[in-house]
Symmetry: C2
Subunit: 347 residues, 2 copies
DNA sequence: AATAGTTTTGCAAATGTTTTCATAAATTCG
DNA sequence: CGAATTTATGAAAACATTTGCAAAACTATT
């Protein structure tokens, strides 16, 4: 039982208790194979008796790795980010790292400040979410010599290695799916794109894909909707109650699509007979909803895992690290919420 | 523009660049009011030029606070925990703290190991999830002199201050609601309770409340279902296809309830006419689903916020800290998924 | 212009480790 | 059994900062 009130449980206290020098105690932790097994045992017991806990801060000032990784995300409130972070955290935890987590709420100024905090803590590596960041952020990273990975999105020409899904491809996949079903009267619902390069990229590519097939989306069918089921339900309901009504609705993510599904039900429409609804993301639950949602899967767990692996090796063995981007391809998932356009065009 | 390749951007480099002593640079950061504004300016520019970033590790070994808080949760995969963590993180970030986050996946052994890691990093405080923890964890905390709060659940006699909702009350509220509607033929669906005191407490109190109203739940109506929409949908469907069918189903959380709602739909039952379904949690989306879910709200954001406030003050000003538990009361939310039992008792 | 008082700065010790180098102890070999 | 070699341990310097104390630089007062 550790001595609760022992003044200082530092390496000296342990050394005294084990009747060895502090250096030996240090070696006990860092190079145990150098010790005689008898001394090892003695120190072992001393550590237990004193309740000593190593002080990583003291190690860190020797240039030794801190064993921490800074993870910077927009918010945990989107389950998909929570999922990525969970996978990442599990992966690097297995290699002995602990994560520093902070969210910037899509405020790029805050991102810079948080990154500085991370660096003050001497993190061994950094993960940012998405490809777009303030130039100051990149410059700060340039001046440090720790690895950084841009997680979640993928692009060949990213400023730092990126590991994630190609948004353009995701948008293209879903747009093509809708087109291939024969839809021409198509509406879109996307979240506000301010400070959110992902949403922006998706919208652009969806519109471009439709356009190149000769389909244009009229302004009043181009919805900008907050990331919430209630908002999207409401907006969808309003859309569906117009005289001219689309035969398909492409949503920027599965949350919006879920709300749209509810909105359709509330408007008395049958999905997919009256209207098709598709999303992007394949969030948890998207396969279970009624009707199950056609969408594009962004492999969150895999992205988290791959990023964790890549960053951990980049930290542990910088030489071997290829430090390259990795594409975790999105995948079209066709379920029950999409089908060919029905007869019923008008009310 | 910071000197990218300056060998060492330590306090000495800054001191030289500003032609002052290192001590003065230290003061610039820690007690700026002691400096002449001219020197302050000089150092300011030197910091900029050298690209110096403070080293918190070096401060920490002086007994100065590390500015980190360890947060230990079961998993981020449950959106409700992500929500609590987000609220907590925002709250303490505003006070300058950064969080170390780790999840144990309901493995109490791992919890001990993670806590040790946190302590090695000299966190200024710790947050654990739930009331039940390994005795070794508590003893370890006892031996340290940093504040710890048990977040999420509340109990008057918790081993450490607890801030959260009273599970018993939540379970009681929902059970009483179902009883008050007139149901007597009631089924229950709860997640596996191993290593999960929350789920266990909820189930016990629900059953006890029913029992004290003279209602017993037959074994085959006592479902243990994995935390997933697909599992709960399946299990609910199986339950609803039995010859004898309950008029109400109480679910241990809203995810299970959501699945059960889908299961009911798939079985051709109308909620709440044929069967009532209720949950616990009031997760995001529970109000938007069709039919909207009757449940008990566990105020996640508030819990995260209150815990953040309490822990931050306990760290910054231990004297003033009352360091007491706080109950964030759960609240019955009656929506459309519950109603009086219908005529149709049998198939 | 000298004195007393105040503000600002520098020196050096301290913090809890790791690590290099040197020495002591143990082992191997002839 | 003693020399040569190997293995285990200790002493002290180093790491990046903070801080108590004292000295230096200013101000105000006469």
């Amino acid at each position: 039982m550790p001595d609760n009130k022992s003044k200082k449980a530092d390496i000296f206290a342990v050394a005294k208790a084990a009747r060895v020098s502090p250096s030996t105690v240090s070696r006990y932790f860092n190079h145990p194979e150098l010790l005689k097994s008898a001394t090892r045992k003695r120190i072992d017991s001393a550590v237990r008796r004193t309740g000593y806990i190593r002080n990583r801060a003291a190690q860190t000032i020797h240039g030794i790795r801190s064993g921490t990784i800074g993870v910077l995300i927009p918010t945990l409130d989107h389950a998909i980010f929570a999922e990525v972070v969970q996978a990442f955290s599990d992966t690097v935890a297995a290699q002995g790292f602990t994560i520093l987590l902070a969210s910037h709420g899509y405020d790029l100024q805050r991102e810079y400040a948080i990154l500085r905090k991370f660096l003050e803590h001497r993190v061994d590596g950094v993960v940012l979410t998405g490809l777009d960041h303030d130039e100051a952020v990149f410059q700060l990273l340039d001046s440090q010599e720790i690895p950084c990975i841009l997680m979640w999105n993928y692009a060949t020409a990213s400023r730092y290695p990126s590991i994630g899904a190609d948004n353009e491809q995701a948008g293209k996949l879903i747009a093509e799916h809708v087109l291939s079903l024969g839809h021409r009267r198509i509406a879109c619902m996307f979240p506000p794109t301010h400070g959110n390069d992902r949403a922006l990229a998706r919208r652009e590519i969806v519109l471009a894909t439709l356009r190149s097939a000769g389909v244009t989306v009229p302004d009043e069918w181009m919805l900008t909707t907050l990331y919430s089921i209630s908002d999207s339900k409401q907006d969808a309901q309003r859309l569906f109650s117009q005289f001219e009504r689309p035969t398909a609705l492409i949503c920027g993510n599965d949350i919006l699509a879920t709300g749209a599904l509810f909105g359709a039900a509330a408007s008395g429409l049958v999905v997919p007979d009256d209207v098709s609804v598709v999303g992007i993301g394949d969030f948890k639950g998207s396969s279970e909803i009624e009707p199950s949602l056609s969408t594009v899967r962004l492999p969150a767990r895999r992205i988290g895992y791959e990023t964790g692996q890549a960053l951990a090796t980049a930290i542990i063995d910088p030489a071997s690290a290829p430090n390259v981007s990795l594409h975790c391809a999105p995948e079209l998932i066709v379920r029950k919420s999409s089908g060919p356009p029905g007869q019923a065009g008008h009310l």
